[in-house]
Symmetry: C4
Subunit: 253 residues, 4 copies
């Protein structure tokens, strides 16, 4: 049972990551070209809904294939909310958050993806989607300082690295909420980078650890002792033979 | 004796955390609604005093139940100060700091709470109470830039993550003192996050540590050696039997 | 010989730390009260020179007591420079840096001081002296934003924690050089805090390390094996006795 | 074959680092003295091209000496691009990036250079070249705030330490791209500093690790056991001698 779910997760991983890129493009169109012809904007909106629907379907499939369904639901309540929320309140930003959460959870579940790659991916995703979202949110505010995609990317970057120049800052409540998400993932990124380097350092330090060497030498001493014991036992055994040699004679060893 | 204190600490933990939330509400009322009817403000002030009194009582109880009372007092002089200070100088901000210190110390003492949870709780508490306090402090200043709860929360967050945009900054001495506390706990938060990830990485790296494997193989080699020794000894023992078989014949093994 | 130097270092540690505090006071007087009566300013200047002289004397004494003098000088060229520079160029700021370097080196050499305490001390010292120095440097600049001791302390703190609001910034070259020193020690402080927490986490994780347990169990299995071997050997020994019991009888064991 | 490449890399390391310094000087001349006589500016441009050519030649030599040439190219596609790009598009900034990448890769390959030294060198290099580049880029912008070398160095430093005052910020797209590179290497620097301190702490903690001690004691117990066994075996051996002593007599031990 679990094997079928794992096989499903392994096979669908790449197509779903490709869909995330499509979602990014569909989300970017009305933000970057708000005066595009109607059918383009309509198509982008449909593509957004379609990608969300595929991720919702993927969640449902994994739920059906799961061994213990109740535990599957209980362990990730955010995923269930991400599936249901866009149905209740079809806000654009909500659909973005829902799709990102579902895609993120999906990638994290794939056992081949390592933590470092995952965090790097999340950071990159947040950078791109965060820039698009802040641009959309702030553009409507009269006092906004973030007005172009370049500004939005620059602001996202200075926020995530916790540099925070303050030449551009969000002015709306939603924009600030988004900034909080960017800061927190920036801190996580910093933690992962540092931890990675630290673990690498520690592993190198340990290879020269004294106590481990001591242990190793103790075991080697012991083995030498036991080998000596076997040699003596062999000698004894030869002496105990019915027609054995008298003691005192040194064996050929 | 110690057991009675530990039992007390275990049983009172949850009610005290609930009281901290009540304190937050009582403290928030006059900050967020300074023009509320007199009885509301009066009730909030009473609730504040009551929560402080319960925490002071808790401290006294733990002191009575402690095995070595003098050591209990000496080990946490800040707690004693927190109990006594609001009696001497009934400043509102002082009561806030006192209650927070007593509650924090109380939670830290409970053995079930892990460091990560504790730091996360302290950070959240400082975020909420810091925002309320900075709002109260700065509002009276003529040049203040922090004037709404949203501003206060946003400023607290950018300060704790050390992003520090500088779009909002405290202008009073008290506000800056508060900012210093927020920055320091932000650094601690960063440290805990990084340390957690690093420890997890290191633990995974170590599982593949070469020297440990070497040690393990050395011990396995040694065990094989000793097993061989036992086999030979069994053979010897059979030969030494009064009516034993002559040497040279291979045993059935 | 080395013992005499170590004894000297142990005995002079506390008086020298007390002198550092005196230096702080003497340095603060003309910065905070530039219009104090002449004899006060003169006394402060003399006190500054006296403290520097004591630290220079301490360096000379340690050099005389050192076993290998040339190595002592070569290992800390900055210390020699700190002793000689104020004689060549009696600038006030240079005397501050020289005395701080000598005092810092002196405290670091004392073997009882742990890294964490040392870094905390250096950070505190830089905070106090950095605030006084930035105040003195910036006050003369026409566009300065740092004009009071409160401002200076606040700026030093936001710089060391890398928050960097930017509400106050140095405008002179010397002030910026000072800021660089503050930032670098802030990063070191952050590193020490994180490293401390990380090491504590790692130590806890390791106690439950699987491979170590595996090793331990392997050794226990081996010991049981060897005990069994001794039991069998004892039985064999009894059989080999001149009037030994016949094989087949089970020993009492 | 590999040995010849390694010998080449060892022998050319120092001259190449010296050339990097020459490149810095040649790059600085037209930035800091744009009104210098024509032959000076021309000479600086020629020196820049010459240094790039030497690094390109070094790459070609290493490629020829490499055992598996295809793998050598495939493993560092950025290096090949750095060699070819300045030929296609002789932009000044591109030549800077190309030479820096080639020099950095070259230093990293030298086996004697440790990670800490490498990161420190990269950070220093980025600080110097970043300051020169931002000065050149921003000077042409009408709203630029970075206009002198002092400003550029100060901005680079506040960016790399993630302090980010925001008193000076890049206004052009290229300048912001450069800022991103500075921030990322600042984070790496922070990670290396923290990791270094953490690894040192961890190594000290581990030396007192309990389980390792436990293991060590277990092995010592076991060795004592085996020694006792040998003593008994020796006794048995003496008894089994043709004219051996009767059992019951205690050996001299």
């Amino acid at each position: 049972m679990t094997n079928r779910r794992e096989r499903w997760e392994r096979h669908t991983q790449l197509p779903l990551i490709a869909l995330s890129v499509l979602f990014a493009v569909a989300y970017a169109v009305p933000v970057l070209a708000p005066r595009a012809p109607g059918w383009v904007l309509q198509g982008a909106a449909w593509a957004e809904w379609a990608v969300w629907a595929v991720f919702a379907l993927d969640y449902a499939t994994r739920l059906v294939l799961a061994e213990r369904r109740w535990e599957f639901v209980r362990r990730s309540p955010l995923d269930l909310a991400s599936v249901l929320l866009p149905l209740v309140q079809p806000l654009r930003l909500l659909r973005l958050v829902s799709t990102l959460l579902l895609a993120g959870q999906r990638v994290r579940m794939a056992s081949q993806v390592r933590l470092t790659t995952y965090v790097a991916g999340v950071v990159l995703g947040l950078l791109v989607f965060g820039s698009l979202a802040i641009l959309e949110i702030e553009r409507s505010s009269p006092h906004a300082s973030i007005r172009t995609l370049g500004d939005a990317l620059w602001w996202s970057f200075t926020t995530m690295t916790t540099v925070g120049y303050g030449d551009l800052t969000p002015t709306t409540g939603l924009g600030r909420l988004l900034a909080v998400a960017l800061m927190l993932s920036g801190i996580a990124l910093l933690g992962v980078v540092t931890a990675n380097i630290a673990a690498w350092f520690v592993a190198r330090f340990e290879a020269e650890d004294r106590l481990d060497h001591l242990n190793h030498r103790a075991i080697q001493d012991l083995t030498a002792e036991v080998r000596e014991l076997r040699r003596e036992l062999a000698e004894l055994s030869r002496q105990a033979e019915p027609g054995g040699e008298p003691a005192g004679r040194v064996p050929s060893a």
